[in-house]
């Protein structure tokens, strides 16, 4: 089942347009990340390399918080592990939709799986099979803009001090809320949502950090597995 070049091109373009709003929202944060890195003693090459190899915004901001002179590699590695642990769950879920990918492309696709790409991929897979072309379209410009904007921010310094005061961080929340509600016709939706959101908020209040995501996600999945709803 090799898709025709036209279909692949259409899929690629659809992928590009899918992530376009997320790219526009991410660029200010990449600029900020680059600007902040200059106060921490990283060179432009270093923060660019970090964006290219790690490519995970939240963990990069946290890394700058704990970046010392010299940086402590195991602390940074461990922190990245904790902050990005949610990607392990996302990966488990996304793998189920990579059946149409050549085997060699599956790990490659997963390497570029950031939150937004994963969320859009899940939403797409709920409606039609996920193709490598669509996935590539989602990833290519997202990745390039993240790396380049980080470096641009490092070169330009502090252009954007607080994207939060402009509400720019809400772009991601809006995307995620929109995608959550896109699943609302699924059986068990309400139970999953309530269990996950409730647990995440509670854990967040007790133990600030990245754990609320893992705890909420596991609670939501458990509620779907053992909760009321469909018989199996």
């Amino acid at each position: 089942m090799t898709p025709s070049p036209q279909t692949a091109w259409a899929d690629f373009r659809a992928g590009v347009f899918t992530t376009l709003p997320a790219i526009l929202a991410a660029v200010p944060f990449a600029l900020l990340l680059g600007a902040l890195s200059q106060g921490k003693g990283l060179t432009v090459a270093e923060i660019g390399l970090m964006s290219a190899l790690v490519f995970a915004g939240a963990s990069q901001f946290v890394a700058l918080d704990i970046w010392g002179a010299p940086p402590v590699w195991w602390l940074l590695g461990l922190t990245a592990l904790v902050v990005n642990l949610r990607h392990a769950l996302m990966s488990l879920s996304l793998v189920r939709h990579l059946g149409g990918f050549p085997k060699a492309l599956r790990p490659l696709a997963l390497l570029f799986m950031v939150d937004e790409v994963w969320a859009f991929a899940e939403a797409r897979a709920a409606k039609q099979p996920l193709t490598p072309a669509f996935y590539a379209g989602m990833v290519v410009f997202f990745y390039l803009s993240w790396v380049l904007a980080t470096m641009a921010g490092a070169v330009a310094g502090s252009l954007l001090r607080e994207p939060e005061s402009l509400g720019l961080d809400f772009a991601f929340l809006a995307i995620f809320v929109f995608l959550i509600l896109g699943f609302r016709a699924r059986p068990g939706f309400g139970v999953t949502l309530a269990a996950s959101a409730g647990t995440a908020v509670l854990v967040h209040l007790l133990l600030p950090g990245a754990w609320s995501i893992m705890a909420g996600a596991v609670a939501g999945m458990a509620a779907a597995a053992f909760g009321p709803g469909r018989g199996s």
Partner: protein
């Protein structure tokens, strides 16, 4: 434009940790995730993960973010994504300026 050995080591440690997380799904046997309770748990995964990310951000950061969250939820029920994003940004900026 230079990379110090210390920074390189730290960046590689971060990358290794992140890559390990992202590749974790490859260890899952394909058949395991489709049937019974486990299948339902996997079906629920996108909503479970996204809700766990969003809920603390919307509900524990004060009234401005909670109100902007309400706007986003309402908008998501009837508007296309781009409109929801723009409304969300405007609502967050506006409510944060007020509170």
């Amino acid at each position: 434009m230079s990379v110090s050995p210390d920074a390189l080591l730290a960046i590689l440690a971060m990358a290794a940790a992140t890559v390990a997380c992202r590749l974790a799904g490859l260890v899952l046997p394909a058949r395991l995730a489709t049937t019974g309770r486990l299948g339902r748990a996997f079906e629920a995964m996108p909503v479970a993960i996204l809700s766990a990310i969003v809920a603390p951000l919307l509900l524990t950061h004060g009234p401005a973010d909670a109100l902007a969250g309400l706007v986003v939820v309402g908008a998501s029920l009837r508007l296309p994504l781009t409109a929801v994003i723009l409304l969300g940004i405007a609502a967050a900026a506006g409510f944060r300026a007020l509170f």
